[in-house]
Symmetry: C2
Subunit: 244 residues, 2 copies
DNA sequence: TAGATTGTTAATCGATTAACAATC
DNA sequence: TAGATTGTTAATCGATTAACAATC
């Protein structure tokens, strides 16, 4: 979800290999490359060039090359990159090797959906427990994770050295939950509640802003119906036009 | 959600008032302004300046002014904008007045969460029915919406003139579902499945890319632990540091 | 009036793309 | 070798920000 959105990031982004800061858009494309490379690997393809990646992902080759360089990978002229190597480079660049354990707050439908996403573990994220303030939910198990009372969060986070928190509560509860997380020493918050969070500057917040995404989509759809009716079968098939 | 993020949008974006194309980032900020202005209205504040908005939303005033100009609103020097007028301007600009009816496919946890989001209607989105291919789900009602068999979708979409489709299936099913939607004449797809969709060029696709967002978050967290340990209480409180 | 704020034009900044040299 | 592809430097493009005139 992007959505960007959502994209003005005041803090300078510097990366370890010292090639200067990495642009936020490049960072956002990394998981796309990773996903694509996994597919290649499944197909038994072990080498790939930027032109190939670009063609399949709708990006110009030089952009792919620049992005990949941020991971520190070195390719070979004429042969390109070794797929397996590239996958590892991206994973290590993104920090997916040292798994982030996380607490999730808000065991509603969205929270349940995220708790059930076993794929997250492959991407360095392990949700170890859920929290809620609703007594009817506390004590239950959701996708193998216990639902604990919210007031236990801060203490547990501290004792277990949890650095990442996920908020899937209604908007009204989000700030309170964030405060609790910060009290427990949590350093980064992945926020799915439609609310602006006030946090100390050292805390990283990523908000998944569904409404921003919806706004953009609905604007484009509205535009569509201002212009003459779309010709059926104009360009009948094929182009990947994803955005988000 | 972000994204973007996912942010290279090849099609030129032109807007009705003829001030030229609107930047995608400006479009993404619109819902943020809207949300903020609703809060002001609740507080009984009826006029607001760009500096005020900017201060509260962490944006420079001139950026706010430029963004708002895309809606066609005209402010008054010294007094600023009328809040109610501005809200209407944004809503009409985003097309939230003519409600978009939508079909949702994938009545799992995420789908259920979205079906229950009654707030969407305020933002021009009305999910009128859900679809699934799981016989155990078909015929059930989720948050007041019927779950219908997937093979009824194309026909119904056509007969009801539904233009918007929402995909909340697992990745494997996403392409098939998208194809069905397009067969039914759906023009825009809001995709929550982690899959690249192949669609005709005239179909708008917005993908909520959780993994891209997670990648960016986990990179930043990994960076955090490379640098010297964060001083507790350095800048103890207050700044809104949302992004994503 | 003076000062605050809008609207607008010009400058800056950062990401993308183009051009080209180096390498296998 | 010739050609494909990487790596890198320079040019372009677009969004943001600065500067300033217009207006209430």
């Amino acid at each position: 979800m992007v959505i960007d959105i959502n994209l003005s990031n005041p803090e300078a982004i510097h990366h370890p290999a010292g090639q200067g800061p990495i642009p936020q858009p490049s960072l956002n494309r990394m998981s796309q490359y990773h996903h694509y490379l996994m597919e290649l690997q499944d197909q038994g393809i072990d080498r790939v060039s930027c032109s190939r990646i670009g063609a399949d992902l709708n990006l110009v080759p030089v952009q792919v090359r620049k992005d990949l360089q941020y991971t520190g990978i070195i390719g070979k002229p004429k042969t390109g990159y070794v797929v397996a190597e590239l996958i590892l480079a991206i994973e290590s660049f993104l920090g997916w090797n040292n798994v982030n354990e996380a607490f999730l707050v808000g065991a509603g439908n969205l929270g349940t959906a995220l708790l059930g996403h076993e794929r997250f573990t492959k991407f360095g994220l392990q949700i170890v427990a859920a929290f809620d303030s609703d007594p009817s939910k506390i004590g239950q198990w959701v996708h193998g994770k216990a639902v604990l009372p919210l007031d236990k969060l801060a203490d547990l986070a501290q004792r277990m050295s949890i650095h990442l928190g996920i908020i899937t509560t209604p908007a009204e509860a989000a700030q309170t939950v964030a405060d609790e997380m910060i009290r427990g020493g949590i350093q980064a918050i992945w926020n799915f509640a439609p609310a602006r969070l006030k946090v100390p500057t050292h805390v990283i917040v990523h908000s998944e802003d569904l409404y921003s995404s919806l706004a953009s989509l609905s604007w484009k759809l509205a535009q569509r119906f201002h212009v003459p009716i779309q010709q059926e079968g104009g360009t009948p098939d094929g182009v990947d036009a994803n955005c988000g």
